[in-house]
């Protein structure tokens, strides 16, 4: 594949990621509404929201650091998009390089970094509370998430390329069906809930409590970029879990596995209250960390 094809394909897949993310968020809102015995918004609601936000005025507060305030949402959006494109390329076309799992892990930290920087640069008290919470939450959920992926790397003979990890599961058996892989999947699932920032761990932008948190001062298209980041992450993070735990090269299987993970996310979202920051830190560093250590102990099974 020459370089032009790669560029074109990555643009096409980026548009796919955005569209699919907005669609799946719409489905999520609809299911949440049905669970609460409401009718709920139509499935295209998030597309309308983004179009509306792009047409609105974008105001930048006087006390904000203009450069960081404008670039934080864009960087977090592009980080999520790049991670998604790398995973899709290695799954669909076999274009993979050594260490791209590590690149994806790095790129997936950019959305939260953008949220933290954007919140703290906007010169608002509630926004700084939100970004300090986001910082603590990143510290909490990043550790088990990365540790479970490290386990996957160890299980697949220290291979750090996503293509190799998926390929190796053809011979050695799917990671999810081994004891350690199952425990690590459980850990990575909770870590990904923290990374997505949905309800048990949505304390960074708690709407009812700190009024939007880190997003408080954002308006117009910059807010739209944060919404798009969330939409793209909703596709990318489960896709990473699928690649590293249910390695297969079958598109139908991916869709099924994606839907299962998505349903689990919705169930957790709709049956849990928002945790305080100390509770979520304790959850990740006391409960989840024991599980990940256990999975390292049982690595050979």
């Amino acid at each position: 594949m020459n370089i032009l094809n790669v560029v074109l394909l990555s643009i096409v897949w980026s548009i796919f990621l955005i569209a699919a993310g907005l669609l799946i968020l719409g489905v999520e809102r609809k299911i949440t509404a049905r669970l609460q015995w409401r009718v709920g918004p139509p499935w295209w609601q998030n597309f309308t929201d983004i179009i509306k936000l792009s047409a609105k005025e974008t105001s930048i507060p006087e006390r904000a650091n203009r450069f960081i305030f404008i670039f934080a949402p864009i960087v977090s959006f592009l980080g999520a998009l790049a991670a998604g494109v790398i995973i899709i390329f290695s799954l669909l076309y076999g274009i993979s390089f050594r260490g791209d799992l590590i690149t994806v892990i790095f790129l997936l930290t950019l959305p939260y970094s953008g949220l933290i920087l954007g919140g703290s640069s906007s010169g608002n008290a509630l926004a700084s509370v939100g970004s300090s919470r986001a910082l603590k939450l990143t510290l909490a959920c990043e550790l088990p998430f990365i540790a479970s992926l490290v386990l996957i790397i160890l299980k697949s003979n220290l291979s750090t390329s996503i293509y190799n990890i998926v390929n190796m599961q053809k011979n050695t058996g799917i990671n999810f069906f081994s004891v350690s892989g199952f425990i690590a999947f459980f850990v990575a699932f909770w870590g990904s809930i923290g990374k997505l920032g949905i309800v048990p761990f949505d304390l960074a932008e708690a709407d009812t409590e700190i009024a939007g948190g880190a997003l408080f001062e954002y308006s117009g298209i910059l807010l739209g970029f944060f919404k798009l980041t969330k939409a793209v992450l909703f596709i990318v993070v489960p896709l990473l879990l699928i690649a590293s735990f249910f390695g297969s090269f079958n598109v139908l299987a991916w869709i099924l596995e994606y839907l299962v993970i998505f349903l689990l996310l919705i169930i957790v979202k709709n049956t849990n209250p928002r945790l305080r920051i100390d509770q979520s830190l304790r959850f990740f560093w006391k409960v989840i960390i024991i599980l990940i250590i256990a999975s390292f102990v049982f690595m050979k099974i």
Partner: protein, 138 residues
């Protein structure tokens, strides 16, 4: 009607501001979000920050202490935005019209798009007013 107005009509985000109300109208506003009325089916969401809002639902007489804050919230809301005066207090001042703390009904402070009289107006009245607001948009 272009696509932007059409999108705005289908996704109004509501910010709810009480400027010295007795909380009765506020409860009725929250009732609109309940499963029985569910305004989210029209794409309306209650947001916590005026920076995210398209519609300001303002209740209560504007007290002297709140005067500057109302102006500031209106100033901070990104345009285009719409102001809805909910309840008789916000429309005219009701029985507090000659009160010592009255800084004028809402229309003297900021431009108002829709008035909803009633003490308090029910959720059905609020929804019908918002539909009138949507029809005003061209």
């Amino acid at each position: 009607m272009n696509i932007k107005t059409r999108a705005l009509k289908k996704s109004l985000w509501v910010y709810h501001l009480s400027t010295g109300s007795c909380n009765n109208c506020d409860i009725e506003i929250l009732d609109c979000l309940s499963p029985r009325f569910d305004i989210e089916r029209f794409g309306m969401v209650l947001v916590g920050s005026p920076k995210h809002a398209d519609v300001l639902l303002i209740t209560g007489i504007v007290t002297k202490k709140n005067l500057e804050r109302v102006k500031e919230v209106y100033h901070e809301t990104p345009k285009p935005c719409f102001v809805v005066a909910v309840g008789t207090c916000a429309c005219s001042g009701n029985m507090f019209r000659s009160g010592y703390n009255m800084a004028g009904p809402l229309k003297n402070v900021i431009p108002v798009d829709v008035f909803i009289p009633g003490c308090p107006p029910g959720p059905a009245a609020i929804i019908s007013a918002v539909v009138k607001l949507l029809n005003k948009l061209k």
